[in-house]
Point group: C2
Chain length 295, copies 2
């Protein structure tokens, strides 16, 4: 197949298999479905310890451990994929789950540097290794635009002026932390920054705010405050996108917030119908916002 | 007494009583001792729910609830104090502990604005109310310079180059968050920002990192990483200073870090001998660093 046979916009033609490198959560399934709707065959490469076996087994699939970049290239090639997409949660991995193969070992000095960075640099680095092996890493926007959060009110009601001000402040906090490859989320309630996400993940951060509420250490009354998720400025949008799912909504309700705001067009949403139903049930708002509006 | 009788550098003369407005922790006792060493009488005004009764009862004292600015002015005047210093922990107060008096009620619109800000603005606002009533709010540096952390290695050993790099990164994170009146602490391990403090306080943040370690979600091995505490740039240095005590050191050890670095000259240390002994016992370093060196 010559380069000429690559379709418009660089997307491979109908029928060409697409490698989906799968972390945890339900996103890989949503992406696989979107790929099938486009008439392409998804081939799932699950990261051991993170990817969901029940999701992978519905499709052609294989398994790799983190650190097995050489093996990953081989199994992707064996399935005749020339393009790959990353999707799913890969929190900083437990060290016990990293298995180094010989090809990765050769690259160890570089991997060591990657691991010294945050998750974003880790994934960028692995992508770089795959690209050197001739694979094209495509962005999720090209493959499954339907998983991205649109702009506007998705559930509940239009945020109040106070909510809008909290949203803007949280976006500024996330932007200020951009240079540090740290979290993509913050919680602000009535102009107080209650929590900033780093290595712990969004659900842990929300549990912390629920506990602060229980201890009556939050000045804003229940029903005031927002969770905001947005990508870091300058983040490589091909992976580690801010994501929400039904559990996020449940935890926002548990933290006594008014709602959640996510960056439209760059945050992704798992099981949108379930998310919207959960938000409506908990009387929360869910909005897609312009992350640059706060700059 | 005329203004001429005020001593050099604005400090009131020998013998004049000093009001110490006391939050929680052991700092108020250290400050009271320093004031006595200067030949002045400390008068303790404990904030109900925060100040330690056993500390206050060693000195002339009275109690106020947060929000009782009018009563605070009256009791300070009744004890013939013209100067006051703030010291001790006042995390965002449980709402149930705020008792409004009539004078404060008159100021409610302003207090409401204060509460919309973070702790720093809250304390600045209360200080402003006291100053309007004719009191002089003095900085802790004037009264008890011995509670400030000096520069250099205080316990353990000289931090390694990696530690220094982690310290510099954490100082940058704290500086980046300066505009948001958020935490004064961050934890960085081998260039990864593990945690950023907001409303939860330092001990909670350290407990979180201990838990991430237990779950093996920290890439850096045990014994790598630093807790850094430094004031926000532009912070009013008269209150809400970053503070460490023996419990901080215990928790740094529990989080599997290499040590702790605090801003020399602006962070304060409770029970220095106990802190240094705890650090030596846990084989941690404790250093006072120049917070501006990272800018």
């Amino acid at each position: 197949m010559t380069p000429d046979s690559i379709g418009v916009g660089g997307v491979a033609p109908h029928g060409e298999p697409l490698a989906i490198i799968c972390g945890g959560g339900s996103f890989p399934a949503a992406v696989a479905e979107a790929v099938q709707r486009q008439g392409r065959e998804p081939v799932m490469f699950g990261i051991r310890g993170w990817a969901d076996r029940t999701v992978l087994e519905r499709y052609k699939h294989d398994w790799v451990a983190l650190g097995q970049a050489g093996r990953l290239v081989r199994v992707i090639n064996a399935h005749h994929c020339r393009e790959a997409v990353f999707i799913g949660t890969v929190l900083r991995p437990p060290l016990s789950q990293i298995r180094l193969d010989w090809q990765t070992l050769r690259l160890l000095p570089r991997l060591a540097r990657l691991f010294r960075g945050g998750d974003d640099r880790l994934l960028s680095g692995i992508a770089g290794l795959l690209e050197e092996a001739g694979l094209r890493i495509v962005g999720l926007q090209e493959i499954a635009p339907e998983v991205f959060v649109p702009a506007g009110v998705l559930a509940g009601y239009q945020p109040s002026a106070r909510d809008d001000s909290d949203i803007a402040q949280a976006l500024k906090v996330i932007a200020a932390l951009g240079p540090f490859d740290v979290g993509q989320a913050a919680i602000v309630a009535d102009s107080n920054v209650l929590a900033v996400e780093a290595a712990e993940g969004t659900d842990n951060m929300l549990a912390r705010v629920a506990e602060l509420r229980r201890l009556r250490r939050v000045a804003a009354p229940p029903g005031v405050g927002v969770l905001v998720k947005a990508p870091k400025p300058g983040q490589d949008r091909r992976f580690d996108l801010p994501a929400i799912g039904p559990q996020t909504v449940e935890n926002v309700a548990g933290a006594g917030l008014a709602g959640l705001a996510v960056a439209a067009g760059s945050a992704i949403i798992a099981e949108p119908a379930a998310v919207i139903a959960a938000a409506d049930r908990a009387k929360l708002f869910l909005v897609g916002v312009d992350e640059d509006a706060a700059q």
